[in-house]
Amino acid sequence: MQPRPLVLKILDFASVIVLAVATYLALVFAPTEAVMGQVQRVFYFHIGTAWVGLLGFIIAALAGILYLVTKDARWDRFEVAAVEVSTLFFFITIVLGAIWARPAWNTWWTWDPRLTTAAITELIYIAYFMLRQGIEDPERRARFGAVYTLLGGISAPITFMVIRLFRTIHPVVVGSQSAAAQGGFSMTSDMKTAFFFALFAFTVIFIDMMWHRIRLGNLEDKVEQLKLKVSM
C-alpha cells in the first residue's frame, strides 16, 4: 500500500484543526442559550454530523448508480466508504439529538418526522451491511449493494415527506411551555458563526475519513486478490 500522499497528510492535519476550532466555537465562543442552557451547544455538532450523514447517503446512492453503469469496482469501494462513514456520523446525530431532547422536551425520543426518518435511514444503512455480509462473491456483493443504496436513497426522502403528514394526529411532545419545547430558538450572529463553521468542519472531516476508508478498501481488495493467487 502506498504511503499517504501529501494532500492526505495535510487533510488529516486540517481535520484535526477544524475539529478543534469547531469545538471551541461551539463550547466557548457561542453564547449560552437562555432557555435550555448549555445543552443547546450539542446542536452545532448535531447539525454538522447530520449534514454529512445525509451527504454521504446521497453520495452512496450516486456511487451505486455509477457502479451499475460502469461496473468499475472503484465505485463500489467509494460507495462502501460513504455508507460506513455516514452510518457513523448519523449515529452521532441521533444520539446527540436525544441528548438535546431530554432536557429540552423532557423525553429522550419523539416521533417527529426528522428523528423518525433518521432512525429509518440508519436502519437502511445497517441492513446494507447485513446484505453485503451475506454474500461471498465480491461482484454480486457490489451489484446488490449498489441496488440497495439506490432503493434506500430514494425511499428515505419519501418517508420524510409522508411522516410530516402525521404531525396533525400525533400530539406534540409534552414538555415545558418555553420556546425550546417547540424546538425553536433564534440564533444570534455568534451562534450562526459556530453553526456554519461546524458544517464546514464536518465536511472536511468527512472527506478525510472517506479518503482513508477508500484506501482501506483498496488494501482489502489487494489482500483478497493475493489470497486468490496464493491459493491457486
Partner: protein, 241 residues
C-alpha cells in the same frame, strides 16, 4: 446457443419461441397461480398467519370500541406487511428449490418479464389474503371495511409492497442468510408505503376530509410509480449469473 432468428428463418420454430412481453409475463403468472391453486400451501400459510397476528393484536392492544377506530388501519397494515414477507420469501425460495429460476433465466425473454410475472403473482397472493382478512376483521371487530375507497388504498399499497418486495426477495434469496434477511431489507425501504397506506386508510375510516386522504394517497402513487420503474431498470443486475 443457436440463433433463434436463424431457426425461425428456416421455419423451424413458431412465434411461441420468441413470445411477446405480455404473453411471457402472463405465462409466468399462470405458472405460479396454477401451482399455488393446486396445493394452496402459500396462501393458507399467509392466511393462518394473518389471523394469528390479528388475535395477538387483540391481546397486545386493548381494542375496545373507542380505540378500535384509530388503530384498525395500523393493525391491518402490520398484518399485511408480515404476511406479505412470508409470501414473498416462500414464492422466491420455491423457484430456487425447484430450479425454476435457472429455467426462466435461459428462456428467450427479457429479464424484466420474470420480474413483472413474479411481482404480479406475489401481488395476487397478497390480494387473496387481504380479501379474506378484511371480512374476518370486520366480523371480529364490528367495523365496516367493505368500502371501495379503502379497497383502493389497500390495492395501491399492496402494489408498492409487492413491487419492492419481489426485487428484494430475489436478492435475499441469493444470500447466505436468505429468508431472514428479507424483512430487514424490506421494511425500512417500504416504510413510505406502510405509512402512507395507514394514514390514508385511517383518514377514510375516521371520516376525515378528503384532502387529508388525498395527500398520502398521492405520495403512495408516486412511490409505486417510482419503485416499479426502478425495479424494472435494475432487475437485470440482480439476476445475472
Amino acid at each position: 446457443m443457436t440463433n433463434i432468428k436463424s431457426i425461425k428463418a428456416e421455419g423451424g420454430l413458431t412465434e411461441e419461441a420468441h413470445p411477446s412481453f405480455f404473453k411471457a409475463t402472463l405465462a409466468i403468472i399462470q405458472k405460479d397461480l396454477s401451482a399455488e391453486f393446486r396445493s394452496f400451501e402459500l396462501i393458507s400459510a399467509m392466511l393462518v398467519f394473518s389471523l394469528l397476528v390479528i388475535i395477538i393484536f387483540n391481546f397486545a392492544l386493548e381494542l375496545d370500541v373507542k380505540v378500535r377506530q384509530s388503530v384498525t388501519s395500523g393493525v391491518l397494515w402490520t398484518t399485511f406487511a408480515f404476511a406479505g414477507t412470508l409470501g414473498l420469501n416462500r414464492s422466491m425460495s420455491v423457484e430456487k428449490d425447484r430450479g425454476c429460476m435457472d429455467g426462466l433465466l435461459l428462456a428467450p425473454v427479457d429479464r424484466s418479464v420474470i420480474y413483472f410475472g413474479k411481482a404480479i403473482s406475489n401481488l395476487i397472493f397478497m390480494l387473496v389474503v387481504e380479501a379474506v382478512v378484511l371480512p374476518v376483521y370486520s366480523l371480529l371487530y364490528n367495523v365496516n371495511l367493505f368500502r371501495l375507497d379503502l379497497i383502493g388504498v389497500i390495492l395501491l399499497g399492496s402494489i408498492g409492497y409487492a413491487a419492492v418486495g419481489t426485487l428484494l426477495s430475489t436478492m435475499s434469496a441469493q444470500t447466505r442468510t436468505r429468508e431472514v434477511l428479507l424483512p430487514i431489507l424490506l421494511f425500512p425501504v417500504v416504510m413510505p408505503v406502510l405509512l402512507a397506506s395507514v394514514k390514508a386508510s385511517n383518514g377514510l375510516l375516521t371520516g376525515a376530509e378528503f384532502s387529508e386522504v388525498l395527500t398520502p394517497l398521492n405520495l403512495l402513487i408516486v412511490y409505486d410509480v417510482i419503485f416499479i420503474a426502478i425495479a424494472f431498470m435494475v432487475f437485470d443486475h440482480v439476476v445475472e449469473e
